[in-house]
Symmetry: C2
Subunit: 563 residues, 2 copies
């Protein structure tokens, strides 16, 4: 097939970016090629704010025909957490037709080699980047994120995570040379000499099982890691968050075709309500890699049952912040208040348990009792969300009825230090917007343990009174070990306590943020620098992104012969 986009052209266009990404994952200094500011878009082929909104609006109520083989019907039904029906319909796949069709193009994709695959992936990301404003609305109206967060986390940050995965995948494949001449001396006899070829080969079809809250951010690493290592990729979005991934698949298919590859290397598997195709897909023999973000229950099911596949899971955890002492009390309160409020606490990285000594803590503003710390934190959250416009911009909308139900139940679990408030969104009256609840629990009471030792996903946090910093460390250790943690935070001015929390995090493999009081939050990680999850505790069996995330998505076949 004659390619509109030649490999040469793609390499010229994207190799410099790939090289910068390779340098960034090596130094882990700040870097991103994807602008975070909405006004940075609108030139060089990218959609500006108005054009992005118009493009999104034009999608509503339409059929997104991806041209996939084996389409046996159309599915729809997404309702935005902001109350509007998207009305977009997507192809429903006959797997016995689609899966074989996805394999047809794999040989050419394999033979293209690691560099060409990388630059094709970068072209896909570039076109997604150009449509960031359109994707922002798609992410907003599926996840319930507020616009600015949907724009940033669903746009440039997700694209960064995708590019990071491409960089890791590329470097992993080229660490073995394409060929080698091997000459072994044999004393006085002629040396033994072999010519060897080393070919990275894919495992098969990768399955990406998307989540409701971060369809692109959590979906892109697995998608691009599998694609860049030569696999085909089938994307199974969450039924409530199809659009952002369907658009992604659309762009990927477009680029693959233009570059002369089979567009069926990337396909969508949307499902009918209640169809539950993830289990069927996950155990198909063609599926050799699975990337999953979601509940612990289904993640564990995948790890146990999808034995024919490499399974990468990000499940649930219970995130802890230890509050022991601080030299910046106001900074700590503001930072925590923001972390608890952002996207209504609907991040896998949002702190849930705040461990505070019942004797109180020392601060730059003098000693503060447990009650004072909790009251001051409640005040800080209240202050942050006092203005409805600002609250809406921070909180977004409650993503689904389960989160709302958990929030409402949380008030019954203990003494409410900060009650959840309902907030009206004037632009989207149908949006369910709630401020976070903070509940006081006594860490020494066995009946409280059921609450703080379970994940309560959503805008719920527990101010857990503990006997001492030592007790807090033991509880932290037990929580990570038994429940997993995506993040740990700690506030302390004591070298001993810092050393203690650091040691717990090293031993239990949890990512630690210390004394954050400014504009970086425990629940945020930056691609190319921060690891998201560790892959070493029950919250996730993989980290974004490291060598282990990519190294087993392909294998190297050696062909040797006498020289």
């Amino acid at each position: 097939m004659a390619a509109e986009l030649t490999a040469h052209e793609l390499i010229a266009r994207h190799r410099p970016t790939l090289d910068q990404a390779l340098e960034a994952i090596r130094t882990r200094a700040y870097w991103s090629p994807h602008p975070e500011h909405p006004k940075a878009y609108g030139e060089n082929g990218s959609l500006d704010l108005a054009a992005g909104k118009a493009a999104f609006d034009a999608l509503l109520g339409t059929r997104l025909d991806l041209g996939q083989p084996g389409t046996d019907g159309w599915v729809d039904g997404e309702i935005s957490p902001y109350g509007i029906e998207l009305g977009v319909s997507y192809p429903h796949a006959d797997l016995d037709v689609l899966l074989p069709a996805m394999k047809a193009g794999m040989r050419a994709w394999r033979d293209a080699g690691a560099e060409v695959r990388a630059v094709v992936c970068l072209e896909i990301l570039k076109r997604i980047s150009n449509r960031t404003h359109e994707f922002a609305h798609a992410v907003m109206h599926t996840s319930g994120q507020a616009f600015m967060m949907a724009f940033q986390a669903g746009g440039p940050h997700a694209q960064d995570r995708g590019l990071e995965a491409v960089a890791y995948a590329y470097v992993e494949q080229v660490r073995t040379p394409d060929t080698a001449e091997w000459t072994k001396p044999q004393g006085k006899r002629d040396p033994l000499a072999l010519t060897k070829q080393f070919i990275p080969v894919p495992r098969g079809i990768g399955l990406v099982i998307g989540c409701n809250t971060f369809p692109t951010w959590n979906g892109y690493p697995g998608l691009f890691a599998s694609l860049a290592t030569g696999n085909a990729v089938l994307v199974k979005p969450h039924p409530r968050a199809v659009l952002p991934l369907a658009l992604t698949v659309q762009v990927a298919r477009e680029v693959l075709a233009e570059a002369g590859f089979d567009p069926n290397l990337v396909a969508l598997a949307a499902e009918r309500p209640g169809e539950g195709i993830a289990k069927t897909l996950a155990t198909r023999p063609e599926i050799r890699i699975i990337d999953y973000t979601g509940s612990t229950e289904f993640g564990d099911w995948l790890e146990t049952n999808a034995r024919q596949a490499q399974v990468y899971t990000e499940k649930a955890g219970v995130n802890t912040v230890l509050v022991e002492s601080t030299d910046n009390y106001q900074g700590m309160l503001s930072n925590l208040a923001f972390s608890l409020s952002l996207y209504s606490g609907q991040m896998c990285t949002t702190p849930q348990n705040l461990l505070i000594p019942r004797e109180g803590i020392t601060t730059d503003q003098g000693p503060k009792s447990y009650d004072e710390v909790v009251a001051d934190l409640a005040k800080a959250v209240d202050g942050l969300l006092g203005d409805d416009a600002r609250a809406n911009a921070l909180l977004g909308a409650i993503v689904n009825p389960d989160v709302k139900a958990r929030l409402e139940a949380a008030a019954g679990l203990g003494e409410v230090a900060l009650a959840s408030r309902e907030i009206t969104n004037p632009e989207f009256p149908g949006a369910v917007v709630r401020t976070p609840v903070i509940v006081k629990l006594d860490g020494s009471k066995p009946d409280a343990e059921a609450a703080y030792m379970s994940e309560c996903f959503g805008p719920v946090s527990f101010a857990v009174a503990v006997d001492s910093a030592g007790d807090a460390l033991e509880l932290l250790r037990r929580t990570i070990r038994e429940k997993g943690a995506m993040t740990v935070g700690a506030y302390t001015t004591s070298p001993e306590v810092e050393e203690g929390v650091r040691e717990v995090c090293l031993e239990e493999a949890a990512q630690l943020s210390l004394n954050l009081t400014g504009g970086v939050y425990v629940n945020q990680t930056a691609a190319f620098s921060d690891f998201h999850g560790s892959g070493g505790n029950p919250a996730a069996n993989a980290a974004l992104c490291d060598g282990a995330f990519v190294a087993n998505r392909f294998r190297v076949v050696e062909v040797r012969r006498e020289a």
Copy 2:
């Protein structure tokens, strides 16, 4: 603890070797720091032939007290395939004492960092290398390998594979820097600035489950990969091949202690006859990594049941050589005869099925019928093994009664083209020495399939008559897919057939040797250059050695704070 060996000294001593190993795994050119010739030993602290033999003899009938905590008895019972009783007894462990003791030193080992761990591992390997002549006898009298093979494969080649694993482990840990300064511009506001630390942390205790035939060669990669990534390592040898790994553990403990680390970071778990402790060990919560070489049945059991651990398995496969045409008929026959004879075919890489078109093949000596090819191969094996001394030096001894029984049963599976002969070993009259059997099978007969589609480990090969090269490729594909393969060989002068076999190997992820007619054999792989297994077909879920083999043995914990 004051170390006799400082980190500084170890780095000075071994860093150059580590750097050469890093270069070798990058170029995959020939390299080894471990001499293959027996006469190369005897200086600079290494034992020469006589001293090695004396050291081995001095071990016989003794108690190898490793000084391990929780020793609750002593086990022995190894009988050499050459007929002598070793009479060495080993500590039996109370796991509830030993496992916690192994964890005690892990913090210091973790804190030592990747470079110090690497050079400690290199010191262990160096001391093992110095005792290569002693290890050679230990390997010979547990595996049944002939002396020269036990010397080379059990000595320098095993040490190479261990060093290769250390190199991969090191480079994987240092690809993320120890620290990073992250500064993100914020337009007119102050940039966000974080200081980040990245610490490789171990998973826990690695378990190495050794095999009977290659205790050191197959044991060292997992042992050194886990140790170099900060884990403690418990070595559970095959009950018939304890001595080589017990000596390895002894050396490791010695070096760790001298370097100021806890010797209990490496320990031995020998078992009483019939105790079957592998299952118990493999599911202990302390065991977080397992390296296993052995039967498919138990490998599958581990993959299914040891869910708390990363499991790396090398199981069984059915290795195929396709014989389609050659321009060096005699070279092909000699090469194949050697491959079938070496160590009585008791290698996981030995060819089992020789697929030969029933119409015959073309050669530089004119066309040869199927019957002629098989008869000429039988003659080549007979010629190679015609002299008893040479036969003994190549064949070694049959490792256990199961192999002998399979060999005897094989003659009943079809027409015997080459009968197995009994050979006397004058030095060890108790050795069971047998030449290989070659059995003719018709690939189109369903009753033959049961034979050639099962692994028949030992000196048994099947000359399978196939209808065409195309049929051979289909059978090859099916064999790899269903049964797995550690190696594939092919002889062909046809570009189409070569392309066909290459494509099957790429699609089914099997390592391919083409047209070997000289001194390199399909069943041999060289560390730093050849991959052993692919990790992509049922014979093994990992390859020796690549990034995937080491990347998930540790995790990286990040500790970040405001700069």
